[in-house]
């Protein structure tokens, strides 16, 4: 009697081990998932930060009412300008810096900024490995949109994979929110 009960319990345990483990892991994951998510950290505004394939160091942010670095500003518009020193940390020339900065709390009519090299107003040139360049991100805005005097920029970075899962080639994948940089926003009549 006892012998059969014990062997039956053993059989249940053996057959159900996988199920028990799965329930346990699922419960743990659910518990951790229910924890409040960590806010992305605040990054220093006056030091260089490694953000995936770019090393970034903000210089200044301001609102411009006149053309800035060759980017035309239409009448009835102004522009939020972020000047930043960017260095390519990868081994080859690259221009995937469009989504690195995103101002928080302002809705832009045409999402993506114009990005120019401040050196000679070239629009979106490739940046070369290890050569720091000052770039200006220019977001056009309607003239009546209020821009706070202290603005946070969300920083998006990517991770390097020596081999991706599809072709086995090296590359930068999986963009994630690295953190935010908060900058004071000045008001320039016609800088640049």
């Amino acid at each position: 009697m006892f012998k059969t009960a014990r062997s039956r319990f053993k059989a249940w345990l053996t057959a159900g081990a996988g199920t028990i483990a799965a329930l346990f892991v699922a419960g743990l994951m659910g518990a951790f998932g229910a924890l409040p998510a960590h806010a992305p950290p605040s990054l220093p505004a006056d030091a260089a930060t490694d953000a995936g394939r770019w090393r970034i160091e903000p210089v200044r942010a301001y609102v411009s009412h006149a053309n800035v670095y060759g980017v035309p500003i239409k009448s009835g518009q102004k522009a939020l300008v972020l000047e930043v020193d960017i260095t390519n940390r990868t081994a080859q020339s690259d221009k995937a810096y469009f989504d690195v900065f995103k101002p928080e709390g302002i809705a832009f009519p045409d999402g993506k900024p114009m990005i120019t090299l401040t050196r000679d107003s070239t629009l979106t040139p490739e940046l070369h490995p290890g050569m720091a360049e000052r770039m200006a991100y220019v977001w056009p805005l309607a003239a009546d949109v209020a821009v706070p005097s202290s603005l946070s920029f969300a920083i998006t970075a990517e991770i390097f994979k020596p081999r991706d899962n599809l072709y086995g080639v090296p590359g930068w994948y999986n963009p994630y929110r690295l953190g935010t940089i908060t900058l004071a926003v000045g008001d320039h009549g016609g800088a640049g």
């Binding site: 081994a91 090299l117 050196r119 040139p125 490739e126 070369h128 490995p129 081999r163 072709y167 080639v169």
Partner: protein
């Protein structure tokens, strides 16, 4: 019986070892479909699949001057400008040669600059068989990436299994600090070539 079991185990172990070895030494897809390198030296013709290229001259400069739409533009850089003059010709049919990369001694790859805009003497170069053509490649490189560099020229930017000419730049005169022996303060891309030189 025991001998047979040991033999089976040995075969199994050998199979596992062989399979593991094959797995870890399997070439990557990126290597399997990489361009086919064709090595060459400066001042020699390098014969790629669809074009021939000869590197004639390299000039280093701190600033570049380029005329566009009647106005001249001065381009500065945090490194140095390297202006590479090549002669190009097609092998069997008219084609274009579009890609140029300056590969530094540690493998960093600097693609031709995009800051000059469109010029007819910059890539993509239209080349025809039997007609030699002068083609420029302009790079922006840090001064420490010049000694031991090589120039990679291919017909297209993404050209799996197509030929890529790799020209060693070992004949570039560099000083003891790795800087080029003579860097011009300014190079005018539109100045007519000096007589007697290419």
């Amino acid at each position: 019986m025991r001998v047979r079991a040991i033999g089976n185990l040995a075969i199994l172990a050998a199979t596992v070892a062989l399979s593991y070895g094959m797995q870890v030494t399997k070439p990557h897809y990126a290597d399997l479909t990489a361009p086919v390198p064709i090595d060459g030296a400066m001042h020699d013709w390098v014969r790629a699949r669809s074009f021939d290229v000869r590197l004639d001259k390299i000039v280093f400069a701190h600033t570049l001057k380029s005329d566009r739409f009647g106005t001249s533009k001065i381009l500065t850089t945090s490194g140095v400008w390297a202006v590479v003059t090549t002669s190009l010709t097609a092998t069997s049919t008219s084609t274009t040669v579009a890609d140029g990369i300056w590969q530094g001694p540690t493998g960093l790859r600097y693609r031709v600059t995009e800051r000059l805009g469109y010029r007819s003497d910059l890539p993509p170069h239209d080349v025809d068989p039997g007609l030699e053509k002068r083609g420029l490649y302009v790079f922006e490189v840090p001064a420490d990436q010049i000694r031991g560099a090589s120039l990679l020229i291919a017909a297209r930017r993404f050209a799996p299994l197509d030929a890529q000419a790799r020209i060693r730049l070992d004949a570039v005169p560099v000083g003891a600090d790795g800087q080029p022996a003579d860097i011009l303060p300014e190079y005018d891309l539109d100045a007519p070539p000096a007589p007697g030189k290419t």
